[in-house]
Amino acid sequence: MSVIRPYGDTTGDGMVQLSFTLPIEHSKVAEGAAVQLANKMGMDPALVAHAKPMGEGFTFFVVYGRVNHLVDPSTVEVVERDYPLLTPKEANAAIKRSLRRRLVVVGGCIGTDAHTVGIDAILNIKGFAGEKGLEYYRELKVVNLGAQVSVPQLVEAAREEKADAVLVSQVVTQRDAHLLNTREMSAAFREAYPAAKRPLLVVGGPRFDETMAGELGVDRVFTRGTTPGEVASFIVHRLTSPRTPRAPASTERAS
């Protein structure tokens, strides 16, 4: 696919809209500073469409202009789905066939995060976007630990339940809480298990970057709009296909 530019109302015009606050009283200089920032971002010309003094020493700006950057979709790295989407029926069958026992999933929100709606959407029967949650799968045993589970509690529960997969949700991202907590979690599992025995680690939340599985030390990252079916299919695929040493999720070039 060839390179593209942002599109305002004409092909190639490169137009974008930008807004931000600068910690400076409103003045001509402040507006100039706003243009300077826009220029540094590659916007030229940059038009300050709106400048609003806020409180003391702050000004909010809306800037319009053309960026001269080119976008090359062919170099974009995305995590392509590298597993087949299974119906609950197929998933159950696959588990029966290769494990000959129910597959155990332990899930929860770690750290101080109490946003359970996301993980519940994946785990609870009720499900999400019309798909039933993992609890609906006959061959899955789901243990939902709920909110604000500490990492030791999580490892402990995984051990007790002999978890095949551990599902962790992180919604609060302020000060990168989600990244810190996830790293802490994966480290703890590496601590507690020999590499080959460690359960499959899956983390999800609306503000994760799917390509970060490697850095975070987990097997997969799911983000906005994930459906239970995708998660079940992934788990089943990874745990029922001939066991390979855990490589972090592969990121591939778009075609």
Binding site: D9, L47, A49, A51, V62
Partner: protein
């Protein structure tokens, strides 16, 4: 078009006597203008007639053949007789086999025109009438085609119709954007014209790609866009209407082209060109009447431009000038043969949002228009003047504009753009704007059931006040005698009554294109359109 939901009785407590009085005054003020118009013709009216007779195209430097031919005729015998008799006389004399050849020879200076008399005149008359009649039949066919297509693919699903603007300046960018807009929910697409076209005394030719802040109105651009929208209409299962501007110096010709290419609506205001383009008042009123007769015949809905006043005058102080202009536009329209369902009378949400109760004032004004013109598909226009670079505030304001539309049963809703104060609409602006309309209509579309302004409350009182001021203004105008013998409305326009613009009757562009009709003036188009034997 299904008539707008009509509320029984007056929610605003308007006295029907006042309403009648207003209409009577509008007629009294408008009639002298109509008489003036019938006494004159213009170069553009004559060129429109030639276009109806099938003369199109342009010479190598882009001057349309209708201009070359009309100019040649005028040079020889003047404009006061109309071009039809001299032209078809020349053809009958065998100067050329067809209009195009005649125009080319005339351009080369190798024909001289004269006024036929007696038998020759009669033959020229019927020949021209036959030729022009063919064009008008084509307009009739297009009207039927529209009705058939609507019957076949279906009409816009609900009111108000969602009206969206495209304005890239390049017809080949306009088309995909218009189709995208239609898919996103637009019922009406308006292709904005390039700035300045209204001042051209000719209609450009062919597909164009280089307009400023708009795309040139040309017959080919009309054809291309209508064809694209027909395709999209079939795809979507609803007829998507196309709009352009019958205004400026070529109003009659553009109206004719709109009829021939099946445009569905045309912006066509009785005074916009005078006030906002400094076009001579007489030129405008003459062109106006002809173009409205064409629109009436073509089943085209006109959109008037009262919104524009509020971009130069204050929306509260000048509210009654909007009502006055609506009444005049209604009179001129009906006189030209347009029916209620063809009257897209304009009004706009232009009150300064800082004004206390601004939203309720907008409601009062919108309901007044709704009650005065219960069967007209009012065109409700979004905030523009008080839109700023604060696109968030702008998006909110457009939402409340949409809410007034829902609460007052508007027929046509021009979708506001959050970037109004910044750029001509981007593709994303339109998409966001439509989402705004959808939310408001879906979430609060039926709120009017719960909305009942108190008979003597803020809203009803304001509405009655505005109607009163409009009646007062019409009375003033009617009484205006500043120039003896001149229709009082012309004097009022000269005094800056509308949009604060002062436009004297003997000034402005295009006056030289006006001629008082001679006794033997003949124009087959007018004759057919006015349904004479």
């Amino acid at each position: 078009m299904t008539p707008p939901t009509r509320r029984t009785g007056s929610q605003l407590g308007l006295a029907s006597a006042d309403v009648r009085r207003a209409r009577t005054l509008a007629r009294q003020v408008g009639k002298p203008i109509v008489d003036l118009a019938t006494r004159h013709t213009t170069v553009s009216v004559e060129r429109a007639t030639l276009r109806l007779a099938g003369l199109g195209g342009a010479d190598p430097d882009g001057t349309p053949w209708v201009n070359r031919l009309a100019d040649a005729v005028r040079a020889d015998v003047g404009l006061e007789h109309g071009v039809s008799l001299p032209v078809w006389d020349a053809l009958l004399r065998g100067e050329a086999d067809d209009l195009l050849t005649l125009a080319q020879k005339a351009a080369a200076g190798s024909v001289t025109f004269g006024i036929p008399e007696g038998k020759d005149a009669t033959r020229a008359t019927s020949a021209s009438r036959k030729a022009v009649g063919a064009g008008i039949k084509q307009i009739d066919r297009q009207r039927t085609a529209r009705e058939r297509m609507i019957a076949k693919v279906g009409d816009a699903p609900s009111k108000p119709w969602i009206y969206l603007i495209v304005a890239t300046g390049d017809i080949h960018e306009d088309i995909p954007q218009a189709q995208a807009a239609a898919r996103e929910g637009a019922d009406v697409i308006a292709v904005i014209r390039s700035t300045g076209q209204s001042l051209l005394d000719f209609v450009p030719e062919g597909a164009t790609r280089e307009g400023f802040a708009g795309t040139y109105a040309t017959q080919e651009n009309f054809r291309l866009m209508r064809a694209a929208l027909d395709e999209t209409s079939r795809e979507l299962g609803r007829y998507v209407r196309l709009t352009n501007y019958a205004s400026g110096l070529c109003m009659p010709e553009i109206a004719a082209l709109a009829g021939l290419e099946r445009l569905d609506m045309m912006l066509n205001d009785s005074m916009y060109g005078i006030l906002f383009r400094d076009i001579n008042p007489i030129r405008t009123f003459v062109d106006q009447r002809f173009s409205r007769q064409v629109h009436a015949r073509a089943g085209i809905i006109i959109n008037t431009g009262e919104d524009n006043y509020l971009t130069t005058a204050d929306a509260i102080e000048a509210a009654h000038t909007v009502t006055t202009s609506q009444l005049l536009n209604e009179y001129f329209a009906k006189e030209a043969g347009l029916e209620d369902w063809q009257l897209g009378l304009g009004h706009a949400f232009e009150i300064d949002p800082e004004v206390p109760d601004s939203f309720r004032l907008e409601l009062a004004h919108a309901m007044l228009a709704r009650e005065l013109f219960p069967d007209a598909p009012l065109k409700w226009m979004p905030p523009t003047r008080h839109m700023t670079g604060d696109i968030f505030k702008g998006y909110l304001l457009d939402g409340f504009f949409n809410l007034v539309g829902a609460l007052t049963g508007q027929g046509i809703l021009l979708v506001g753009m959050m970037t109004e104060a910044v750029v001509t609409p981007w593709i994303s602006d339109r998409d966001l704007a439509l989402q705004n309309v959808r939310y408001v209509m879906n979430a609060a579309g039926k709120l009017h059931e719960d909305f009942h302004p108190a008979p003597d409350g803020f809203i009803a009182n304001r509405a009655r006040e505005v109607l009163g001021e409009a009646v007062g203004l019409l009375e003033e105008i009617k009484a205006d005698r500043t120039v003896a013998g001149q229709p009082p409305l012309l004097s009022a326009i000269a005094d800056g009554t509308f949009g604060l613009m002062k436009r004297p009757a003997d000034k402005g562009r295009g006056l030289d294109g006006v001629a008082r009709k001679a006794a033997d003036y003949y124009n087959p188009a007018t004759q057919i359109l006015e349904g004479e034997a």
